[in-house]
Symmetry: C2
Subunit: 513 residues, 2 copies
């Protein structure tokens, strides 16, 4: 056994059995060792941002980390944006970052860089295994660190010689993290404050949007407390049979209008809401004047248990109201995000997973699918576009029996377009929708809000994707994914019906203007 | 005038007139200000790695920085790999990284991250302009820092409010850097050592490969001293009328064999050569036993002047031997990198610029073009693949009257494939060649060298790009670039002849097996 074997064995022993990889020379021993550990499924990604986003999707769906395999500092950096998103989603991810052999580092060869410095902003834990004997134990530490609770990114730097040298040391199996039990004092305080408040709301973060927590929140809603979620959550159980909370609006002034008169905000697995961006003369904190905030439970606490406990103290009914399957009628006419949302709601099968990087098209589709069949919705938690395709890859690898729907603005889809190839290679059951409005539409809206005024010709050119128009059918076909373009609501509805019925990779370009 | 105006005016006053951009909400004021400063040309890139690689190409060709416009930490991270390459090329680049408004940072909104930490490994200089009045002066500082000498990356973090607030302060025009005059003592010592050595060599780094330095090195070669360059140089003047140094081989054992018996290595704008990667039981430092090393001039010194001074002390002839235009005969038969190199050498016009991200195809083409018309060759200095298309964009923007040839392995081209769109949009005179061998071929070679043995099925799958095969004609067409596939030497020669004759964007997929 060499260090690479010790690593993969330790990972597999700890349940880490998916590796999203783009290896280089310094990772060849890891690659070779994959043939000696059948438990590990390796998935080649043609760009590291695909690999890290896939690991995020996998981790969101399983609660167990996937590993990535990245090539030194530049390989890590290429994956950092989606690790930023994963950090904001509290997803467990173990990054294996190959490095020069320990003795070679001092020579500052061309690919040398300060990996730990690059990785620090998005990592809970970073260590370098500077001997073969250190690899297994540190791999176990990395898994434990990534699991949290809450979860996050752990980076194990693997010098080439630590991988190729012999060792007899594998790492231990680490315990699963336990989210803390709710603090009875905090629960009692929340119950008392809610009862005393004129207009209380409950705000759920990512950790409070799983099936059990959402159900408990539904009980509290049934007791008369309005429930909202953060604007972007890592994974939310929605649709038929689930309680439907409201969503805090993206734009700060809409959020504050929505929260007008609220005198108590109870936070569950989240912190005080803030505006996504700052704007001239607008507040950053989205808590109305005169509204108290109070934390029921933090991110390291079992949110479902905390919500159940609160429901009990509030005397809530045993179950709250849940959505039924009530899809919108078949859409007709002009293609826009609302009619596309209707089509998706009509055809999305039970158990579907939605990876949302749809930017301006996202909210209409989210709204339209409230009465769709039961599904999980994965949001862009960190604001770094280019997550939609990679996250879908990871979700599909994690859940091969579930349909995965990847929703992407055209600008966002271009960021990690290489992921289409991996979807094709792995024959993943992913339907990629690209909303081709030929613009960074959101920026056209934000330009005015930030005081930039009407864009002139130079500015307009930086917001426009229409010259040349991207032919998504051609791009996807070239990467091995069957694709079609639709231009009407009817055609989109038909294409979605087929895509949801038939398994396998496909792409739908929704030509929006 | 607001901070964004102060920034763009200061940049333009300092000769920074190209901006490779992918903006977001926090950069909208910068975008709006572009319409008030006609000197700045902005070029939209659909991924930040394209923007930073383009800035590298621009800087290599002009010696003046371009700026990039990047969206907070994730936007910077997406561009970091090509900034790693730029760092290794000593290219001046000014990165403008938008950030949250100063007062908004404390709330850790979703896109917040430690930008300075992310940027540190690849930056000479990083500052945040935390008021509108600070923007102009810091922009001037950033330009000065990027220029060096030698050059490098400077990062100006631009909080949104520093851009939108009013200011009356623009930054000064900074002086151009002066590379130092050669140290006469070092030159005399080098001359003495060369005369005393039995088998001396001169090793040129990136800063010693410009037209004047290469000519001076040619004089020294004519005096009987073998001249080599580093394996990867930022920009090398080559072809007709230029002296042709040898290139240090990539693989360490080949380099040491090549240097066998050498007893003196004189370093010019470089340091002791080291292996690109470490391998079991092989040396890291590529200096033969018993070989002394001596630095004629470091990277901050005028290399051409140092070489001229050395040539004088060695009594070298006034001019060295130069290459004449002597292209290989028309190639025929099977398509491989050697015959493609022949075709390129035959048709590449004088003044062409070659952006080399061709990996295993690179050396044969480099070799074949030694007698091509005069051209500049830009190498992958930092080993982070995905540079070939972006660098070509920057070179083409910098030099609109010169033909640009972008050579790419298929694996490398996928990294920043989004750049094809920018080539189309800007109607750049770039011919992109993709060497479609459907594999990370170099890794197949490196697997054995690192002791990984014969790849089994799992390992093979991580080195293979052939399932599915990427249809580059389809991908390029979808992104607006006219493309063709060629499968024989004759067809490649014809396609290259057309591409070199006719201006405008095009892609040639060279189907290599």
């Amino acid at each position: 056994m060499n260090g690479a074997d010790a690593l993969i064995t330790t990972l597999a022993d700890n349940g880490v059995t998916a590796c999203f990889a783009n290896p280089g020379t310094s990772e060849m021993q890891f690659v070779a060792a994959l043939d000696r550990e059948p438990r590990m499924r390796s998935v080649l990604c043609l760009f590291e941002g695909v690999a890290t986003g896939a690991a995020d999707g996998y981790g969101r769906m399983t609660g167990t980390p996937a590993c990535t395999l990245l090539h030194l500092g530049p390989g890590y950096a290429n994956g950092a944006a989606n690790l930023h998103n994963a950090r904001r989603a509290f997803t467990p991810v173990v990054n294996i970052i190959g490095d020069h052999a320990v003795g070679h580092r001092q020579y500052d060869a061309p690919l040398n860089s300060d990996i730990a410095a690059l990785a620090a902003p998005n990592s809970l834990w970073i260590k370098s295994a500077d001997s073969a004997d250190a690899v297994g134990p540190l791999a176990a530490e990395a898994v434990a660190a990534s699991l949290g609770a809450p979860g996050g990114g752990a980076c194990l730097i693997l010098p080439a010689d630590s991988a190729w040298n012999a060792t007899a040391v594998a790492g231990p199996v680490v315990g699963r993290p336990r989210f803390g039990v709710p603090d009875p004092v905090a629960v009692a305080a929340a119950a008392k404050a809610v009862k005393a408040a004129a207009k209380p709301v409950l705000l759920l973060g990512s950790g409070a949007c799983g099936e059990a927590a959402i159900a408990a929140a539904g009980r509290i809603a049934a007791a008369g407390v309005r429930v909202l979620t953060d604007t972007f959550t890592a994974r939310q159980a929605r649709g038929e049979g689930r309680f439907r909370p409201d969503k805090l609006p993206y734009f700060g002034e809409q959020a504050l209008k929505d929260l007008e008169g609220v005198d108590l905000m109870v936070l569950v697995a989240t912190t005080e809401p803030v505006a996504f961006f700052a704007y001239p003369d607008r507040p950053s904190v989205l808590v109305p004047d005169g509204c108290a905030t109070l934390t029921l439970s933090d991110r390291s606490t079992d949110a479902a248990a905390a919500l159940e406990a609160l429901a009990e103290l509030l005397g809530a009914p045993a179950t709250g109201a849940v959505e039924s399957y009530a899809p919108p009628p078949a859409p007709a006419g002009k293609l826009d995000a609302w009619v596309m949302g209707a089509a998706i709601a009509r055809h999305m099968p039970a158990g579907a997973i939605v990876s949302d990087d749809a930017v301006t098209a996202g909210l209409p589709i989210f709204t339209q699918t409230r009465n769709a069949r039961a599904h999980d919705w994965l949001s862009l938690t960190g604001g770094a576009i280019g997550q939609g395709i990679p996250l879908a890859i990871g979700a599909a690898v994690a859940c091969p029996d579930r349909k995965v729907l990847s929703l992407n603005g055209d600008g966002a889809a271009m960021y990690t377009v290489q992921g289409l190839w991996t979807i094709a290679r792995e024959r993943l059951d992913v339907t990629v929708v690209v909303f081709a409005n030929h613009a960074y539409r959101i920026l056209g809206i934000e330009m005015g809000r930030t005081g930039g005024g009407e864009p002139g010709p130079a500015a307009s050119r930086l917001l426009d994707l229409g010259d040349p128009r991207i032919d998504w059918v051609s791009v996807a076909s070239g990467l091995g994914v069957a694709a079609e373009r639709v231009e009407t609501a009817e055609a989109f509805d038909e294409a979605m019906a087929r895509a949801m019925r038939e398994p396998g990779p496909r792409l739908i370009e929704a030509a929006m203007r």
